[in-house]
Amino acid sequence: MKRMNRRHFAKLAGGAALAPGVASFSPPPLGASQSPQQPAGPPAAETAPPYGMTKEQEARVKRNIERREQQNAALRSRTLPYSLEAAFVFHVKEGATSPAPRKANARG
């Protein structure tokens, strides 16, 4: 059997949980940091919570986001040096049109 990599595996398995006929949901809830300005609109009470949440669950999500914002204050208060890159590296992968790699023992 052809082996798949882990990311493909996760995608496959995640998809396995999907059932047909599941209702589509509203856009994701916005955390405080993502919603600096809300345009005037209908009162929130008229909008159903996204992802099939109950009002109580929506309140919990908001509390969760608020708690995270507080915790992240410690993270955001750090001044990161300009030269500090994220600790992962993206490598290009050589494709069909890439020049063939030179063999270590190739001669003239």
């Binding site: 996760a10 949980a17 059932a19 669950q57 919990r60 410690a74 750090r78 890159e85």
Partner: protein, 501 residues
């Protein structure tokens, strides 16, 4: 029928018995299968017993050993895996109701490697749903129900590798495989009296394992001795093209330690001194702080005395000051939100058992990318600064957990139950913000991908709850951590204590 004495033996003891045909792999598998049937539900340890496969693999092992084809120390040894690892044809539930019918038609890399080593899969073991990625609020956050500490069934086995935590010290298998993103091997080892290794990141292939965090997930052995962890690592570690995180130099060689190696049961510090002359950095928590347990403090102090008696030099140290908690949580929750986005958007997230998991995963969808990336930038500095500790110390020593296991019935958010006369936290001085950073061993070392082994170092006087000591080593020096723990276990008996079931 094999005696309980045999079923409680370590891999290092069972291996020679199997090789010399004093016991048969089929008998051994049947012995553990019977215990899984008898005690599995009581302990909440089991997701699925793989009887048919176990007997097939055991018969194959018996045939090979009889024919003189001995594969190595795991040949014929029965084991269980946390139910996040694919095993061909059997349910792989990830501990979560939305995945209760999920099956894969292949074995995860670890299961395949153990098969190649001749080990016998006897069970898929219970776990906290989705390895707790959304943030769970108690022992019951699992499709399989709560897993219980075999030494006191009113208490939780620890998680998220809760099934391996409950099954291993109760001899429901010869060993088990757990996973850790942020404490999920170390915690059940501490709470249930298990010897378990969280390997260096990338050392053990995660192909076929549920992904919670691509950059933090690790799979590792949970056993009845530190030596057994080394033996299992030898079989499961190493590069794998199917897992992009697998380290090219990930292979592990379990080695006989310096000096004449005593036989099992004959270990003696006089002939075997792997800690002699080694300098260990000690992270000493303040056990008067709320949530920390004074008995753990006493057990840890006694364990340090043992390490000194083995020739180690101890020096108190602090970890570099970083916000480990927020960084670790940011990394794995953001990745979990990406991984489980289909679950959330389908509405199936509401089938999860634990309310905190549901709302935690939904909330994680709104993590700003800049915060995630900043965490990854800090991660590089954390890795560099933690690495400097190992220029000075062979290993870092700390309590595995500074508290004892929670009651199964108690939600994590609820106020802890206290012995009579103990003051509530409000009477104590408040913990200054950030004070725990420099003692956050689990958070910091998971961020840096460092290996750690936890072994039992005592049992609480009143409730008989296990306590653990952990040894953290430099990246890819899992062998050093194992060696320290083996030395400790050569002169202590805590890992041999059996629960009364």
């Amino acid at each position: 029928m094999l005696s309980e004495d045999i079923l409680y033996k370590s891999i290092a003891e069972l291996g020679p018995m199997l090789r010399s045909r004093k016991i048969s792999p089929v008998e051994l598998a049947e012995g553990y299968l019977d215990r899984l049937e008898k005690y599995g539900a009581k302990l909440g340890a089991v997701a699925c017993i793989t009887r048919e496969r176990a007997l097939e693999e055991a018969r194959a092992a018996e045939k090979e050993i009889t024919a003189g084809k001995y594969r190595g120390p795991l040949h014929g040894i029965p084991y269980g895996v946390k139910d996040l690892l694919a095993a061909k044809g059997y349910p792989t539930t990830w501990g979560a109701p939305p995945f209760k019918d999920q099956r894969f038609d292949f074995d995860g890399a670890v299961v395949q490697r153990l098969k190649d080593a001749g080990a016998v899969l006897v069970a898929k073991l219970a776990m906290i749903e989705l390895a707790g990625g959304g943030g769970y609020n108690g022992a019951k956050a699992s499709l399989q129900g709560p897993s219980r500490c075999p030494f006191n069934l009113d208490y939780w086995a620890g998680g998220s590798s809760s099934g391996p935590g409950a099954a291993t010290p109760a001899a429901l298998a010869g060993f088990s495989i757990g996973s850790e993103t942020q404490g999920s091997i170390i915690t059940p080892c501490a709470f249930s009296g298990v010897s378990g290794l969280r390997p260096s990141y990338g050392r053990v292939s995660r192909y076929g394992a549920m992904a919670l965090s691509w950059t933090m997930d690790k799979l590792g052995p949970m056993c009845r001795s530190a030596e057994d962890c080394g033996l299992v690592m030898q079989a499961i570690a190493g590069p794998d093209a199917s897992d992009p995180s697998a380290h090219p130099r990930g292979a592990y060689r379990h080695r006989a330690l310096a000096g004449p190696r005593p036989k099992p049961g004959e270990m003696s510090a006089a002939v075997w001194q792997p800690l002699q002359g080694k300098k260990l950095g000690v992270v000493q928590p303040d056990f008067t702080r709320p949530g920390n347990n004074a008995e753990v403090g006493k057990a840890f102090a006694a364990a340090l005395g043992v390490l000194k008696s083995l020739g180690a030099t101890l020096e108190e140290t602090l970890l570099p000051d970083y916000p480990y908690g927020p960084v670790a949580t940011m990394l794995y929750t953001a990745e979990a939100a990406s991984i489980f986005r289909p679950l959330i958007e389908s509405g199936k997230v509401h089938e999860l058992v634990d309310e905190s998991q549901k709302t935690g995963l939904i909330a994680a969808l709104s993590i700003p990318a800049t915060d995630y990336l900043d965490s990854f930038r800090l991660r590089g500095e954390i890795q560099r600064d933690l690495g400097k500790l190992f220029e000075k110390y062979a290993a870092i020593v700390a309590p595995s957990r500074t508290g004892l296991a929670n009651l199964v019935e108690q939600e994590f958010g609820a106020p802890p139950q206290r012995p009579a006369g103990e003051r509530p936290p409000a009477d104590r001085p408040a913990t200054p913000p950030g004070a725990g950073n420099q003692q956050n061993v689990i958070g910091s070392t998971n961020i840096a991908g460092l290996p750690a082994i936890s072994v039992p170092c005592g049992y609480s006087s009143e409730k008989n709850l296990p306590m653990g000591i952990q040894f953290v080593a430099d990246a890819l020096r899992d062998d050093v951590a194992v060696e320290c723990a083996m030395a400790y276990q050569s002169v202590t008996e805590f890992h041999k204590k059996r629960p009364s079931l």
